[in-house]
Symmetry: D2
């Protein structure tokens, strides 16, 4: 059995914890690979992942490894984590059960964000939270939105966000979007700020696909999960679909989204 | 073949149109039953319905007949209708196709709203749009919300709304709720006005069930689709689930929800 | 010297405190009148007031006594008070300074709310917080709003609020209104919930006067400060102006509105 | 008599109109100076200004010339203008009255925005609409806000706006701020988007002064009226006060702010 341990090389505590954990796993006869950076480390197959850190590390893990379809255990190293299930000090207690596959799964929808320039696909990423198309500087931008190929409308303002249910408690919420049950396959389309008084957040079935076409000549940047950012100026369009893969969170301790969401949001703000 | 025609006895135009339509259907060899009021008219089986009027008439039809699972054609008699598919002057043109069953179907989720008093079920209704639990007069009320039996939180203010996707463009939208794709099976839980600054609209998978428990001693009323209203003072709880039946709208002319939603909302406001 | 002590006859603690306070004042050679109810007790002149209780009691005091133009000391008896300046346990410490007139003043704008029926003035009240014109039951109402006699627009929904700066942190805030500096003479015009997507809260200079004309046949009630409520059905109009008098709060301990407002709001929600 | 005519050198129609207007004024014995760019053209005294173009040109004029305290006539050249009073085709009709000083005045509050770096004042600008302190890229920023030297609170999100009443219908409105009567001397403090659920727009008396202190190390830019932008990274603070000067709009045709505001906003969105 092989397990990938992900830590955050900028957080000494997670690096140290990663080494302790690797020793414990090796002692259990498990092969361990450690991923400390944003470069995917291995083409080798593996059966499970343990992520040490906050939601940022989990979001990167989802983007890079979700196509492996293995269970991922999130271990909270101090900061608030919507995606982690146990705290660092609980890891010893739950490790054996995790290795034995004795846990539940909570699946999280991912979205696939593709960027087309002059009609050509130039890149595609998995996103756990959201993609934002956002004005640079102080000028408003105008973007046309299509849903399943049908023109929905123009949005004028600081830009728009397409968020997953996981992302509905992050940037989209700051912009007035609703909190969406992770059990739903849906997108939130949320204006960042809107010059038009009648715009409201939309919740769109994830079986549909969304296309964002900023007007030519606008200066904006695209950010995927706030981690991968690209400044754009030219003829681009952004396509968002539900991804074929999901983040498969290992659940050692059952939890109910709506039971804890308000406390977690408040602790975090 | 038997068709029920629903009109609105307070709108002469729909009554007259109902008579003309009945004659046309009879001439085609179809038996016609006319429902002009809010009392269900028949225990007889029938194969289809035609609803003459605005969304209010369609909402009543859904509440009273959705358990028959027959296709319903909405005919707009002048007012804006989110649920009608053709205008009155188009009825002649489409009637034969409708009678022959040559149309698409757009299904709309219904919710079942049950009222329990002192632990006993005292009534249950189908709802196409929303149930609101709302303060009477000028005092705020406090309601506890459970999702799938787990305590979610307390809401203090003028009350709360549980809306379907169909209802997300009605009262829930007035209160800041998101617009939800009718293709999703989901509830919007929207505070009417909130004394608590951190409350936000929630979108909850309709596989879950929601319970609203107003605090004892509060004075409030419950309104289902704004049509059936009941004043309450005492120990009550309101349960909301997805209904077993759906409204099955006959679609003569294909349409796309997100293509037309903003225009329909603007025309209406 | 004569001082009016206001308590809340439904709160034993304030009644008891009122008696203790009266004894202390009498021992200082001061004549005391106790007002425990909502009936104005005296035509006698007096020089100052002490209000024992929460904001509700202060609001009633403002409505009934603001035309006396005397300083009012608010004593918080446990609940959160935006308007009280000292806590019950501090009263002994500050009483002598208060009696000697050694304090600052913070003035709060009041509004005068007049109700006209069929063109005739049928009543007029002072209001410290807000007047709300609000639908009864589940139907939306339409009201026309004039500012200084000029038609401003129609509001369709659950109704509207006209709030003072003091009232901007109460019901108006629940409905999305802004928090307004009490140093400003201004009204907030806030829709309670709006059927029209483009309505936004307005802040109107209090030198202007506002007229609300509900459409004939609407069923609504008018609430002044949530304390005086009247159900209306018929031809009415509500006029709001800045009052000639202000609530003159005695300030023993200087405070800064924006320094404490967020904490006070959070404690309260 | 000397009049400054302001046009927009990028709009041929305003340049051409400027020349026609100059000829007409010269024929009336008036000396004319034309300002076509963003460089202040003259140290000479003058008695009045005519601004050809949209609100952008008027905003620049206010920033550059408000300290001259002369009346300014705004002439709308096609785009929607909140600040212009007559249309291009009406100029002939009103010119003589304007030259003779036969008009009303509507004064608009300006704010003075000062930027301090490492404790030193490095620049100060007049602003008619707003100053925004806004994150660059996709990271949230944290800013501390002081009102009259007292700590008010921390804002985490995309940043904050300090707007005048004139600016309350511009970017601040897009971010959920209230519409403020230009007759009031007030600031709106509006979060652009807020990571904290409990933040609400504030309306602050303009007699107070506001200080914004972004946390060290944040990357943000400051934009004054969307026209003057500066990227910042380092120890800065932004101070906002009411300016000593006002924009003095010449009013040939009386108008009432609340009578027309909703139509003007709708036309514009």
């Amino acid at each position: 059995m092989r397990i990938v341990v992900v830590n955050n090389k900028r957080l000494a505590s997670t690096v140290e914890m990663g080494q302790r954990l690797a020793q414990a796993l090796v002692a259990m006869g498990i092969e361990v690979l450690i991923d400390s950076s944003s470069a995917v480390i291995t083409a080798l197959p593996f059966e499970a992942m343990i992520v040490l850190g906050g939601d940022g590390t989990m979001i990167r893990t989802a983007r890079q490894y979700a196509d492996r379809d293995v269970p991922v255990l999130g271990v909270n190293m101090g900061t608030v984590g919507f995606l982690s299930n146990i705290r660092a000090e609980e890891l010893d207690q739950y490790l054996e059960r995790f290795v034995q596959g004795d846990f539940g799964l909570e699946e999280r929808m991912l979205q696939e964000v593709s960027l087309h320039q002059d009609g050509t696909l130039i890149g595609s990423l998995l996103s756990l939270n959201e993609v934002s198309i956002k004005s640079q500087g102080s000028r408003i931008i105008t973007v046309a939105v299509k849903v399943d190929g049908h023109h929905h409308g123009l949005y004028r303002g600081d830009g728009v966000i397409i968020a997953t249910p996981s992302g509905s408690t992050a940037y989209s919420l700051s912009c007035g979007g609703p909190i969406i049950d992770p059990a739903l396959d849906a997108f939130a389309l949320t204006p960042i700020t809107s010059y038009q008084l009648n715009k409201r957040p939309l919740v769109i079935a994830a079986a549909k696909h969304i296309e964002i076409d900023p007007f030519d000549g606008e200066q904006y940047h695209i950010a995927v999960d706030g981690q991968v950012t690209r400044a754009i100026s030219g003829d681009c369009s952004i396509h968002v679909r539900k991804a074929d893969h999901r983040l498969r969170l290992a659940i050692m301790k059952p939890r109910h989204f709506f039971e804890t969401i308000m406390e977690r949001l408040q602790r975090d703000s």
